[in-house]
Subunit: 436 residues, 2 copies
């Protein structure tokens, strides 16, 4: 299996000013063609450090991906370091990249400067892959097995701007495949919700222990989307391995049942719309509304984060004050007096109330204590009641389900995230008719 | 100046499933106590790699910060590697961490398993700094100058969960200062909103060029809180330097005026409540409400993210569907027909409507196109109208201000963040009577 390391160059990463997201995109692209990433690193804009670090990476990896350090300003010295490292005798101008630079500058109404022109100049040891969205070309350096590293090595220098890198990755992956024969690697991710990481691990312990050595499992927990289980298959080309992976995943579905809500990049908010009745299968598009107290708009924000959500999402009421719960959501004053705002009764009344107010088929509600202040012995910080409601289209009656959620985080933000994701999960389970 | 390297451990980072944001928080914390970060790296959950890599980092840095690789599941082998690396002879149980584990599990209603208990066990070479928000303790390993590295070395192993790491960083920085003498360094951060980074840089170019060499400026841009300017003073003990820093900041206030909304960790949503009339200075507590369309709950979520916001925040309406704008927020149908939902008129009507509906003194509204789909030539993706309203307590009349916001991101999330922060900024400026 070919190995790679990724290196992001820039002082702004080291001082914590920006987060390196490029490496993550590059990793996924490499994984998809069967290259194993051994290391990701970030170093500063220092010539000696760049030289030493890249030289070291080339000794230990088949492929080195460099990102950043290529802008028009003077702190960008990567290109010069790469020229030295690859033994270049001079530079040549990439006419193809020059055309892109001219077109970008003219569209922005900026006059061409020497620093702009210089961006199209590359060491004579480099092959250019045109950066169609930016001014800095992608450079490929190939060291053959007769060269200084004794084995074939590939180095790609990519721009620091994320969308330029994302756009160029397919071309770069094709280039890698033209140099190296690839082994197969496959990943599948199963999205679960409702079991804490440790409980989940216990539940699937025997299954995990029985996995063959070429199948590797990783737990990826998150307050917003639960625990994702990622199964990686190495040597996917070997006979029987893909089938073994499929079998392992079938067993996982049997073991975990309704705790599984999706695969891959699924989230509760992307899965829910697929469960709604909608044309052409159904006569009309079902709709959703939200009533929030302690989550303060987060449930609504998660739902509307999905492009196209305006098709099925009508809106929400954040009823932070009790008077809003009563006046807008029609929560009876007696409920607030007898049970309090953080109660099963209030959550259910809120879910019914918002569905009526916004005239939707489904609704979900939250009412709890996110902390750090507030709470009582009976209802400590981290307690939340959630409810989901469904209007039966045939009988016209509304069914409501509710649950108590306990979150133990000292972080207000994390508590809000747990309450919100649990509310969405309750709605998901109700839609799958797993609760009624 | 002491140097550090940060190492994030986890296969999930290497395959690009999650982005390492912890290192960025750790970098900033180290910078704040005067430690220079030389390298950030991510490696996989592989025992041999962890050993070799950390050993190498300890040879070349005063301080090594490790994050991740400490969860309760068996893919986490960092602790064992650290035990070997530090020459531990056995493990001991941290009772203080055990108490936190018990309390977290009992609050979540989860039974204690052996894997949970094992998290409190640490190598006998480690000192524990309690992780108050999670189950994995922070471990400190100190190698004295008589030890294997020939110089004093510090290694901290921190959790992979970002909020646990963020919460523990102040304790860890104190621990570092107890081992190493630090050069004097002082930071002050000025929070600005309303000028793009490049425009801001141009505006303060002469001021920045005139800064003495011991004052260093960094730009920290963010779609949610604008651009923070961090001024770092090196050699803070030298005579006259603190005064020079104060003078430089006074000049910055003169240059930037109302573009400055706060200092340090201030955000628009933490500044706004301080601008409200409230007891004991005023006779009553002013209140806020929110009406959102394209931001889908984000403005409300930002406001309620502030602990204690229930004192002044009544709630919000997310009117994703036009019928909700009309029925609940009282936006006249003629406005939607004549100007469309994304218009000055609609934003102003929404701000008025929600203030009336929820009976609040102040309100803010958003209506726009977050993309990636939708939009037209006249109103492309990234266009948003925002409005803020204030009910004059003496005359009873409501004043409304509005602005158009343009965001050019291809990311729906970033566009929503820019719209939301601009709306909060408009409310802030109106409260400061800088707009009327």
């Amino acid at each position: 299996m070919k190995t790679a390391s990724i290196c992001a160059i820039g002082d702004e990463i080291l001082i914590g000013q920006i987060v390196d997201t490029n490496s993550s995109h590059i990793s996924r692209a490499l994984g998809s063609i069967g290259v194993r990433v051994k290391q990701i690193s970030s170093i500063g804009d220092d010539r000696a450090t760049i030289m030493t670090h890249l030289d070291n990476l080339l000794r230990n990896n088949d492929i080195v991906m460099v990102t950043g350090g290529l802008g028009p300003t003077k702190d960008d010295i990567t290109k010069e370091a790469l020229a030295t490292l690859s033994g270049a005798k001079g530079y040549y101008r990439s006419e193809a990249q020059m055309e892109v630079i001219e077109s970008i500058l003219s569209r922005r109404g900026i006059a061409m400067l020497d620093t702009n022109r210089a961006q199209a100049d590359v060491p004579d040891t480099a092959r250019v892959i045109v950066n169609k969205l930016g001014t800095a070309p992608i450079m490929e350096f190939f060291f053959d097995e007769g060269g200084k590293y004794g084995h074939p090595r590939l180095l790609y220098s990519m721009p620091g701007v994320p969308y330029e890198t994302i756009n160029a990755l397919p071309d770069v992956m094709e280039a890698i495949k033209s140099h190296f024969e690839m082994d197969g690697i496959l990943h599948r991710t199963i999205c679960t919700f409702g079991l804490a990481e440790s409980v989940l691990a216990k539940t699937i312990e025997a299954w995990e222990t029985a996995l063959p050595e070429y199948l590797h499992l990783a737990y990826l927990p998150n307050a917003l989307y639960g625990v994702r289980l990622r199964l990686s298959l190495y040597g996917a080309g070997e006979p029987g391995r893909k089938e073994a992976m499929d079998n392992a995943i079938s067993e996982l579905y049997t073991l975990l049942g309704n705790y599984i809500y999706g695969e891959g990049e699924d989230t509760l908010q992307t899965v829910i719309p697929r469960l709604l009745q909608a044309p052409p299968a159904a006569a009309y598009q079902e709709t959703i509304s939200v009533a929030e107290s302690c989550t303060g708009g987060l449930v609504s924000n998660l739902i509307t984060g999905v492009a196209g959500s305006s098709e099925y999402y009508k809106g929400s009421v954040t009823s932070y004050a009790n008077e809003v719960k009563m006046n807008l959501l029609n929560v009876p004053e007696e409920i607030l007096e007898k049970y309090g705002a953080v109660s099963k009764e209030c959550a259910e009344a809120m879910a019914r109330g918002v569905a009526t107010l916004l005239d939707t088929d489904w609704s979900v509600a939250t009412t709890g204590i996110a902390g750090p202040g507030g709470g009582s012995e009976a209802k400590p910080v981290g307690t939340c009641w959630i409810a989901a409601a469904h209007r039966n289209p045939f009988t016209g009656t509304t069914e409501v389900v509710s649950r108590m959620v306990k979150s133990a985080s000292a972080s207000r933000e994390v508590n809000m995230q747990r309450f919100a994701s649990n509310a969405l999960n309750l709605l998901r389970l109700m839609m799958q008719q797993k609760l009624l």
